[in-house]
Symmetry: C2
Subunit: 411 residues, 2 copies
């Protein structure tokens, strides 16, 4: 299944992933669902590591999401265990018991409290997780954890992903250079709402849990919460940020401190890169869409307009067909319920205004727009002409590939 | 383009469409966009005909929608002019002038006020309507209007529709038998919100405009507002109901009167048949989906859950692939923001409960469900286990055909 998919034409090579002091990663094949590939990932963090997380807002979250939400309470983390192939969602009491068992397994290995173990699962919904396979595989996996295990981890968490995804940054806190590095998986069921997918990020900076939580929550608003593959929101979305404190920086206790400005910029940039890697691997993708909305009554309103355009099946199929069908953009703006006035609305593609103030531009020349539509990154601009609200969103086209993948996912 | 599409496998034959006293219909080829087919439809109604309408809630409606909303003011209608191939949407002042010109053309022919002429357009957005072609064709078309023109009208309003759609009913008002008959077009850009598509319905009953408006608005709530092809809402949606008063029934001045109970039942049934014909012609459809939601905190909440399931690309592709992937139903329920509790949620397909109260049914046997998924009409049942709210929704699968049609609509 997943392994047989051709690699996305928008794939990016995995970057060099240097060690992050205080983090050891590894991956192994536990045989949970796939054969011939790794599907179980573990990380160990040094004592003193803080953690922040954002999670799916689904009303039917998976058991691991419940587990992590509870484990967040004291802001400390020592281990992470992730499996691919089975989401442990809608599995009732058996799902909860699986999380208890695997957290206890990992806690024994690293010698910590079970509440310092974070768990994530991704894959099919509704099947009981064979957690015994994870229990059996963990001791061997633990013995292989390494400073250089990041790339293996990026591969081990894939499901319908066609390439492994990671990004890395450095930032200055005071006189100290710290690293921020993360991996992400996601390809379909992607329309995050306050959280998304599985992404695990670590930094060697020394920062309290409250500070990294604030930075992560802010950063997600303009990255993961602005992407969509198919408007469907996963029950298992989760982004965790771990701070090991090994860099030796002066600890900053306030997320708004100017001393964290560079770190915040680097984190935001990392989050956006990780989010866009997911779009680059959107199921069946052949083109990315970048929607820019200006002139809305508020930023929130602009966000909803941008997401309506990015989610519209008719806009997505037009992009797939290289058709500069801007009328469908008008339709998507009109349907989403946000304040809009036909007579002040303007639409552009690839830097060319096609319609301004409610009607097509006089002597509109489609030539540069047609050329732009042949590219891989399609820019759609909407100016509502009402106020100062702005937003961006990123999506992908809707293709035969999406239907091939999802018409037969379980078979 | 539209003409070349294969007929939907779920198509239904056009029923016998008898005359409705006081209504004359006709169609002609005005060459607005298509060649070799009719694309202009006209109806004349006898003096005294009342009218009711529901329209798209798009913030960017077409010029004909604006025209009809204004023309509704006095509740009287004498003529209807509909063109296919060009929606006259986002056409600025030129679009308004086109409606003025064509309404005046029709008013001269039937000898009425322009405000008694109703206009509708469907097709491409953003291109200036060549209204002169309509002006030129109307006199010849008017000369051909006939009591038996309903089937021609049903064909003349098609765009990406693959078969003409109509339905007919009779009802008793007091001692009088009246007829209610309608035509509808729609295949993509179908996710009505208080109104939808183009549908024109006429009855020979004598009923005030306020009464038919009330009956129409009520009926649409449980029919056209419960269907979706692709979650995209048209800028041109419009349903008009005309009452010619030729049946000679005693006029009833209150929509809630028990004397209208049979008429209401027949109208509701007609609206649902017309709405489901649209789903049967959903772009690329191979299977219909019928979603039944029970146990919600309210009917409104149940409606939003049902529509979330019907709109989910992952549910739609699973149905297309004949995959009883009930986990995607759980996902769709979880993402839509309505009150839901994982531990009281149950999901069934084709009359078989698969999961109850948050986990898969013990000894669940997939055999009958697999057989059901091979059929053309897929039943999905969701019980939220919270309250007494119920709703139904109808949708269709998402297939390669949808992408073929919409990746090249304008080319």
């Amino acid at each position: 299944m997943a392994n047989a998919l051709p690699v996305s034409p928008l794939a990016r090579p995995l970057p060099e992933l240097p060690p992050v002091a205080g983090v050891r990663f590894g991956a192994t094949a536990a045989g949970i669902r796939y054969t011939g590939r790794t599907d179980l990932v573990m990380a160990e963090f040094v004592p003193g590591t803080t953690v922040a997380g954002v999670y799916t807002r689904s009303k039917c979250p998976g058991a691991p999401v419940d587990w992590c939400r509870a484990a967040m309470a004291d802001g400390r983390a020592r281990a992470l265990v992730v499996n691919a192939g089975n989401a442990n969602v809608f599995t009732g009491r058996a799902g909860f018991e699986a999380t208890q068992a695997n957290a206890a397994d990992a806690a024994r290995l690293v010698n910590c409290a079970a509440s310092e173990v974070f768990l994530a699962s991704t894959g099919v919904i509704g099947e009981i997780l064979p957690y015994q396979k994870i229990s059996a595989a963990l001791p061997g996996l633990y013995a292989t954890l390494s400073d250089n295990g990041w790339a293996d981890a990026a591969r081990g968490i894939m499901t319908t992903d066609t390439f492994p995804k990671a990004a890395t940054r450095t930032a200055r806190i005071g006189d100290t250079t710290v690293r921020i590095q993360g991996i992400v998986k996601g390809s379909g069921m992607v329309a995050p709402d306050m959280a998304t997918l599985l992404s695990f990020i670590a930094t060697d900076a020394k920062l309290p849990a409250g500070v990294i939580q604030s930075l992560l929550s802010d950063g997600v608003k303009h990255s993961f919460n602005c992407i969509t593959v198919d408007s469907d929101t996963s029950t298992s979305d989760m982004i965790l940020l771990f701070a090991t404190g090994q860099a030796g920086n002066v600890e900053i206790g306030d997320a708004q401190s100017p001393h964290l400005a560079d770190f915040r910029t680097a984190l935001d940039s990392l989050l956006l890169e990780l989010a866009l890697l997911v779009i680059r691997d959107g199921e069946g993708v052949t083109k990315m869409m970048h929607i820019v909305v200006t002139g809305a009554v508020s930023d929130d309103s602009a966000h909803r307009v941008a997401m309506a355009v990015a989610n519209s099946p008719l806009v997505k199929t037009a992009v797939s067909g290289e058709d500069a069908n801007w009328g469908r953009v008008v339709m998507a703006v009109g349907k989403c319920g946000e304040p809009a006035n036909r007579d002040t609305l303007s639409v552009g593609i690839g830097g060319t205004w096609i319609a301004r103030n409610g009607t097509v531009v006089h002597d509109y020349d489609e030539t540069p727009v047609v050329a732009h539509m042949r590219g891989q990154e399609i820019e759609i601009t909407v100016d509502l002409g009402l106020g100062n609200g702005t937003a961006q969103a990123w999506g992908c086209d809707l293709t035969h590939g999406y239907i091939n993948i999802n018409g037969s996912y379980r078979s």
